[in-house]
């Protein structure tokens, strides 16, 4: 069986001039996912232990009207009394809730509908082609019920989805783990393990692709971006990426593995193998304490079986030499142009968190260039 499910009318902007941009078709596919997602969720709320039976039901685009500015979506389904409650019923409820939600967003009311809020994330894609001036009218033939989607409405729907209270401009550090070149979206895995999606402009595509290519080598990237944050200040979304900077490609883990293989007498007959304690300390330091905003240290073996961490923060050349017991560290830094007046050294207890904190703060100061101010 088939019945009209939704009528769409496009107005203004890119979509209003005698043709439907093809990219709008993918946005309409998002609309379908959104409706199915909502139908499933509404069903689960009433039937916690069951799954919405699909019943060979599908939404199909059946008509493009004059000038392609109107479209019709029909519901194609098999009537089968065995399956109750039906997917058709819940799809219709999802439609009703969706249209009501769009209207609430348009008149800037509070969201009161039963439409699942997280699914409104779909509006990051749906309606994107409308741009700033286009409009999409949605009409349900049953009620009748109408809704109007435009740029401000869409933005509000996205805000609801993200529970966003504020946006901030911040730097994000992480690894690019996915890029969709067609949709111009990417996924970044932050250093705390959280994953975020965002859209990108053509200007930064090259950097993102390079970062993706280096994902398995630990290629870190910094994104200067406008971020959505929830009321607790947690990052919920990447709104806009203004700049992407590939950071130092080196990652210390493979170097640490390489150093682990050094045999007794590695330094032309001299040189103890790197001790497990020193390796353990360096590993823990890098994993637990080391800020990704600082350049990764260069790692070298010491003839005594320890590890020397060195930084190319010019002109200071800071270093930390870890003893073979992994308990004492010797911190040293200088300004090579004036070694007498601008150097510091200190012995650190490596198991004392306050001294680790001091070390990190010093590194930050050197990195900022105000270590001796």
């Amino acid at each position: 069986m088939r019945e009209i499910f939704l009528r769409l009318r496009f107005e203004g902007g890119e979509v209003g001039y005698g043709g439907l941009p093809l990219k709008m078709l993918s946005e309409l596919a998002t609309l379908e996912r959104l409706l199915w997602g909502a139908a499933g969720e509404l069903f689960r709320r009433e039937n916690p232990n069951a799954k919405l039976p699909p019943q060979n039901t599908r939404l199909v685009l059946t008509q493009l009207g004059k000038g392609s500015t109107t479209a019709q979506i029909e519901l194609d389904f098999t009537k089968d009394e065995l399956f109750l409650p039906s997917a058709v019923e819940f799809l219709k409820r999802a439609r009703k809730e969706l249209l009501a939600t769009i209207e609430e967003a348009r008149i800037q009311a509070e969201k009161t509908t039963a439409f699942p809020t997280p699914l409104l994330r779909g509006f990051r894609r749906l309606g994107k082609s409308l741009g700033e001036v286009g409009q999409l009218h949605l009409e349900s033939p049953d009620e009748p019920q109408v809704a109007l989607l435009d740029a401000p409405t869409r933005n509000r729907l996205i805000e609801w989805a993200e529970g966003r209270q504020t946006t901030t401009s911040s730097a994000l550090y992480g690894w690019i783990c996915e890029i969709d070149e067609r949709q111009r979206t990417f996924e970044i895995r932050l250093v705390n393990g959280k994953r975020l999606r965002g859209e990108f402009r053509e200007e930064i595509e090259k950097q993102l692709i390079e970062a993706l290519g280096g994902y398995h080598y630990g290629q870190l990237i910094r994104l200067d971006a406008v971020l959505g944050r929830d009321e607790k200040g947690r990052i919920t979304s990447v709104k806009e990426v203004r700049e992407a900077i590939l950071l130092d490609r080196r990652e210390p883990w493979s170097r640490l593995r390489e150093l682990s293989k050094l045999p007794e007498g590695w330094l032309d007959g001299e040189g103890a193998p790197i001790s497990s304690a020193a390796k353990r300390w360096v590993r823990g330091f890098l994993r637990r304490y080391y800020p990704p905003t600082l350049p990764p240290p260069y790692l070298y073996p010491t003839p005594q079986g320890g590890i020397s961490l060195e930084w190319d923060i010019q002109p200071y050349m800071p270093s930390l030499e870890i003893d073979a017991m992994g308990q004492l560290g010797y911190w040293h830094a200088l300004a090579p142009s004036n070694p007498d007046s601008s150097s510091e050294d200190r012995e650190l207890s490596l198991n004392d968190p306050s001294q680790i904190k001091w070390l990190i703060e010093r590194l930050r100061a050197y990195d900022r260039g105000d270590a001796f101010v």
Partner: protein, 129 residues
């Protein structure tokens, strides 16, 4: 040796992380007893020094960095010719006994910085001995 003489220092492969050498290249080890072994640049070329070090002495080196005698003396270091039977171009850069670890590190980093500014005299050849 003159003030302008270059003193060649071999760089062990493990003392390179990527292309960056550690300042330990110019730090005497406990075995050195504060006397850093170098090749006298007046007696051999950098290539000859590398050939000798890796082929005759059988040690490992990815390349050679160099500092001048004058640069050493400016940092408070003495330099001496110290020919050995199988190593006639051998010379030493002598770190004062009284220097603290910190002072030794400061000077070693300064030497590394000067040497890197001068550039590699030979190599670096990654994967070589």
């Amino acid at each position: 040796m003159t003030e302008e003489t270059l003193l060649y220092r071999q760089v062990h492969p493990s003392f390179l992380d990527g292309e960056r050498p550690t300042s330990q290249v110019f730090t005497p080890t406990s075995k050195d007893q504060k006397r850093l072994s170098v090749y006298d640049g007046d007696k051999v070329s950098a290539a000859e020094a590398w050939e000798h070090y890796t082929k005759v002495l059988g040690h490992k080196s990815v390349g050679i960095l160099a500092v001048q005698v004058r640069e050493c003396s400016n940092l408070g270091l003495r330099t001496e010719e110290d020919p050995l039977p199988n190593f006639p171009a051998h010379a030493v850069v002598i770190f004062p006994e009284a220097w603290s670890i910190g002072k030794v590190k400061t000077v070693a980093k300064s030497l590394t910085s000067l040497a890197l500014e001068r550039g590699w005299q030979y190599g670096p050849y990654f994967g070589s001995t």
